[in-house]
Symmetry: C2
Subunit: 500 residues, 2 copies
C-alpha cells in the first residue's frame, strides 16, 4: 500500500491573495505536499489498520486563568503501535507535530516515519493542531471561526503547549515515562518542532525540522528572498524559459488592454470561465511557478517540466502561447485553467488567520526576479488583516518569543539536538537555518532538494543525495537516543553510588 508524496507539504501562502492588494502574492503555503499533488491521489481511501485514533481533553488557554480559559475541547491524535518496542525497554516515541491541516491523511504521508520506525522500535504519534480537522474548540468550526474572540486562542504558543500536554498524557497512559521522544514536522510543522525542542526540552530529546523557515520573520531574511529563489530555480533550469516568463507579464497587460483582449487571453489559456481581468491570470501563473519551485522534486522536477513546455513550443509561437505550453506540459491539456471552481479549504481559512495574527512573513518581490516587482508593505498587510479579522497582526511576536536574530550567536552555547533540513531549490529555504550552529544543532541541506522532501516516503527513484540526507538524519537521531540511554545509565549508577 503506497502513499507516496501525498498531502503533507501543501500551500502556505496561496491563501494570501487578499492580503496583498491587487498585485497579489500567491506563494505556496508552508506544508509538505503541494495542493496539486493532493489532487492526484485520493488519500482518503487509505485506512491504516496499525493506527488508532484518540482524543485528549485539551485546555483552551494555557496562559490564562479566566474562567473561559478552562474550557476544554477534544484534540485528536493518532498512534501507530506496530513498530514499538514497548515501555519496558524504554523504546522511543516519534511525535509528528501537526500543522495547518486536518490530521486525516498525515500519517500515511509522512513516510519517513513508517520507513524508519522498525529500525528504532519506535512508537509513532501524530497530533492534530488546534483549530484544524477534528480538534476544534467551541463545538463547531463555525463557532470557532466566528470572530477574533473565539479564534484568538489559535496560535503557535498554545499549539505547542497542547502538544506538551498530549505527550505527557501519552507517556503516562503507556507507562512510558522513560521513553525518549523525538519530535518532527515539516514546514510550519518544522517550526513547531524546532520551537518545541527549544521551549520544552524536558519533553523531547531532539527535533527534526524539515524545511522550516524560522528566520523568515521580522526582516531577518531579506523580504524578496522567496521570489528570488523561485527565479533562480527557473533560471537554472533554463535561461530562455526565465526570459520568456519575465517578459510575459507586460505581454499579458498588452493583450488584456486590447479590444476583446480578455477574451483572447481566456482562449489562449483555456480558462474555466472567461477572465474579467488580467490579474486573476497572473495570480494563477504566480501560484503555478511558486508551487513548481517549492515542490521541485525528483523524478519529474516540475520547474524542468514547465520550462520544457515553454522552451519546447514552436519558435514561431508568441510569448503567451509558450507560457501556455508550459502550463500544459505541467498540468496536461485536458483540464481548464484559471477561474475554476474554488474551494476554500479549512487549511486556507486557518492559515489566513495564522498569517493575520502572528505569522507575518514579510515576503515581497524585488526588482530582479522574473515576476513583477511588489515590495512587501506591512501597512497594507496590517490594514487588510484588520479589515478581515478586526485585530492587527503582531509582527514582532515570533522573534520576541522564539528568537531568530543572531541565531548562531544565541544558540551556539544554548540548546542541542535539532536537525534543520532544507532543499535549496525550495524558496522557503531562504528563511531556513542553512549552517551548522553547533555540533548538535545541525543543518542538512541538499542542493537539489525541495520543500519537505526528506520526511516523505522513500521511493525507488530517489536520487542518491536524498537517500544520503535521510540516512544522515537517521544516524543523528540514533545518536541522540544512544546518548540519552547512556545518560540515564550514568545517572542511575551515580544515584546507586550516592545511596550506598
Amino acid at each position: 500500500m503506497k502513499h507516496p508524496l501525498l498531502f503533507l507539504c501543501t500551500f502556505l501562502i496561496s491563501s494570501s491573495t487578499y492580503l496583498t492588494t491587487s498585485h497579489s502574492l500567491t506563494i505556496p503555503r508552508l506544508s509538505p505536499i503541494s495542493e496539486w499533488e493532493k489532487t492526484l491521489h485520493n488519500p482518503a481511501t487509505f485506512v491504516a489498520s496499525d493506527e488508532k485514533e484518540f482524543y485528549y481533553n485539551q485546555t483552551l488557554d494555557h496562559f490564562n486563568y479566566r474562567p473561559e480559559s478552562y474550557t476544554q475541547f477534544q484534540q485528536k491524535y493518532v498512534i501507530n503501535f506496530k513498530y514499538w518496542g514497548g515501555a519496558n525497554s524504554s523504546a522511543p516515541i516519534f511525535a509528528y507535530l501537526g500543522a495547518e491541516e486536518a490530521l486525516d491523511n498525515v500519517p500515511s504521508s509522512i513516510g519517513f516515519l513508517t520507513d524508519n520506525a522498525a529500525s528504532f522500535n519506535a512508537l509513532l504519534v501524530y497530533i492534530e493542531h488546534r483549530y484544524y480537522g477534528k480538534s476544534i474548540p467551541f463545538g463547531s468550526r463555525q463557532e470557532a471561526f466566528k470572530n477574533a474572540s473565539t479564534i484568538g486562542y489559535f496560535n503557535s504558543a498554545q499549539a505547542i503547549a497542547d502538544y506538551a500536554e498530549v505527550l505527557i498524557h501519552i507517556k503516562k497512559t503507556l507507562h512510558a515515562e522513560k521513553s525518549p521522544i523525538i519530535v518532527l514536522g515539516g514546514s510550519y510543522g518544522g517550526m513547531l518542532a524546532t520551537w518545541f525542542r527549544l521551549k520544552y526540552p524536558h519533553l523531547t530529546i531532539g527535533a527534526l525540522a524539515s524545511s522550516a523557515p524560522i528566520l523568515y520573520f521580522d526582516y531577518i531574511t531579506p523580504p524578496n528572498s522567496y521570489y528570488d529563489v523561485v527565479t533562480r530555480d527557473f533560471r537554472e533550469a533554463s535561461e530562455k524559459c526565465y526570459e520568456t516568463i519575465r517578459k510575459s507579464w507586460s505581454e499579458i497587460d498588452r493583450v488584456a488592454s486590447q479590444t476583446n483582449g480578455l477574451s483572447s487571453l481566456s482562449h489562449i489559456f483555456n480558462t474555466c470561465n472567461p477572465l474579467n481581468n488580467s490579474s486573476s491570470l497572473k495570480e494563477y501563473l504566480y501560484s503555478v511557478y511558486t508551487s513548481a519551485a517549492q515542490y521541485n522534486r525528483p523524478p519529474q522536477y516540475p520547474v524542468t517540466v514547465i520550462c520544457g513546455g515553454i522552451d519546447g513550443a514552436s519558435s514561431k509561437s508568441d510569448i503567451l502561447s509558450k507560457i501556455n505550453a508550459g502550463l500544459v506540459a505541467y498540468k496536461g491539456d485536458k483540464t481548464c485553467k484559471v477561474n475554476g471552481p474554488t474551494n476554500v479549504s479549512e487549511t486556507n481559512m486557518g492559515w489566513k488567520w495564522q498569517r493575520c495574527s502572528e505569522f507575518v512573513l514579510p515576503i515581497g518581490i524585488g526588482n530582479n526576479s522574473m515576476f513583477e516587482p511588489n515590495p512587501f508593505s506591512l501597512e497594507l498587510y496590517t490594514n487588510e488583516c484588520k479589515k478581515h479579522f478586526g485585530v492587527s497582526p503582531r509582527p514582532h511576536w515570533i522573534t520576541t518569543y522564539y528568537g531568530g536574530y543572531d541565531i548562531k550567536l544565541v544558540l551556539k552555547r544554548f540548546g542541542s539536538n535539532i536537525i534543520f533540513s532544507n532543499g535549496l531549490k525550495d524558496p522557503y529555504s531562504s528563511g531556513g537555518v542553512l549552517d551548522n550552529i553547533s555540533d548538535n544543532l545541525v543543518a542538512l541541506n541538499t542542493v537539489n532538494g525541495s520543500h519537505c522532501l526528506d520526511i516523505l516516503a522513500k521511493k525507488e527513484s530517489d536520487p542518491k543525495w536524498l537517500v544520503e540526507q535521510r540516512k544522515k538524519e537517521v544516524e543523528i537521531m540514533k545518536g541522540w537516543i544512544s546518548q540519552y540511554y547512556s545518560d540515564i545509565g550514568a545517572l542511575r549508577m551515580a544515584s546507586k553510588f550516592h545511596n550506598k
Copy 2:
C-alpha cells in the same frame, strides 16, 4: 547611605493561612527580605538619584489574539545609568526581574547589583511584575483584582513575556543591541530568572537565580521538606530548644482547654488582643519559626537568637514561658504579639492569587518535625482556591511548561549559563537545584546560608563563606560576558572572511 538586608526576600506563604484549613500553614513567602526586617527600616526614605523611572506600554495577553488581549497597561521599570559603559562598548545590562511586590524599594535592596555594577560597567535595570506596584492592568487594583476574568492574565508566562518585551524595548531605545543581558532574581524572582534564561535565551546570556525552589512543584520535592529543614535548623542550633518547641503545641492545647486558659495564654504571650482560640497563637509561632529559619542570617542568626531565649529561660520556667522567652529574645519585649493589627499587603493579595492559579507548592508537615503533622492535601487546597477565586489551580502546569522532573538528565545537554545559588539553612533550598547539572549550569550552595542572602548588599560583618559565594558568582558572570564578546568577535571574523 546604607540599606542593608531590607525588603526583598519577604514572606512567601504567610498569606496561605486560608488555604490550609484550621491547622494553617504560615510559611514565609518566596522573597529576599522577611516581613519583620521590613519593619526595622523605612526604605521609602531612600531616594536614589541615579535611578530613573520609566513606563512601557505592555500587552495584556501575549498568548491570545482576542480583542481584549490587545489592551495595554503601563509597566514600570527603573534604570540606573551610573555605572554603565555605554552602548558603543557593548557594556552589559543587568536586569533584575521583579517578583511579588511593588518595585518601590527593590533597587536599594538588591545590593549585589550596586556593589558590583562598577566592575562590570553595567547598566542596572529593574522591572516591576505585572499586577504589582504601579504595573496594574484595568486602570486600578480594584478592577484588576475584581474577579478571575480580570486577574486571569496574572501569571508567570505572561510576566516573563513582559520582561522580554521590556528588555527588547530598552536595548532598542539605548541602541544597545550588542550589549549582553544577564538576568537575576531572588526566590520567586529567581524562578523567573531561571525560566527566562530557558525560554528566552535570545534575550539573556545568563541568569543568577538566588534561592529559587524551582523543584518544589508537583511532588518533585517531598512535600514535607520545607518544615523538615526548619526543624533541622532549630535542632542544629539546640537539641533542647527543638524539644521545647516540639512539646509546646500540646501544652498550648492543654492550657487553652482549661477554664480561662485563653486568657492565661494571652497573658503569657502578651498578645495585642485577647486570644479567641489557640490556633492564632500557633499560627503566629509557626510564622516566627519558619521566618527565622528562612532568614537565618549572620550576624545575628534568628534561630540562634530564639533558641538562646528559650534555652536561657530559668530552668524553673514552664514550657510556654520558655517559648515566650524565645519570642522576646527575637522581637524584644516592648511590642505585643499575636492578634495585632493586620495589614493585607498587595503582596499578600497577589501571591494568594498566584498560589491559587499556577504556584501549587505542595508543602505539608510530616511526622518528624518540631511542628504538628499536617500533610498537604491537594483536594482541600483546590477547594479553598475555588471558593475564593472561582477557578481551580492547575497543579501540573509549572512542570508542563517549565519542566523540573529529571532536571539533571534533561538539562545536562541543553541550556547553559545559570547559577542556582542556595543557602542550605533556607527551608526553600530543599526545592532548589543543589548539584551542578553541567559545566555551566552550576549550583553554589552555602552550608550556613539563608534565603537570598547572596543578592543583598555586602556588609562588614559578612562571613567568609558569603564573601566567597558572591565572589564566585561575579567570576562566573564575568566568564559569560567574556565568552559572549569572544563569540561575537569570532562571528564577525568569520563573516568578514565569508564576504571576501
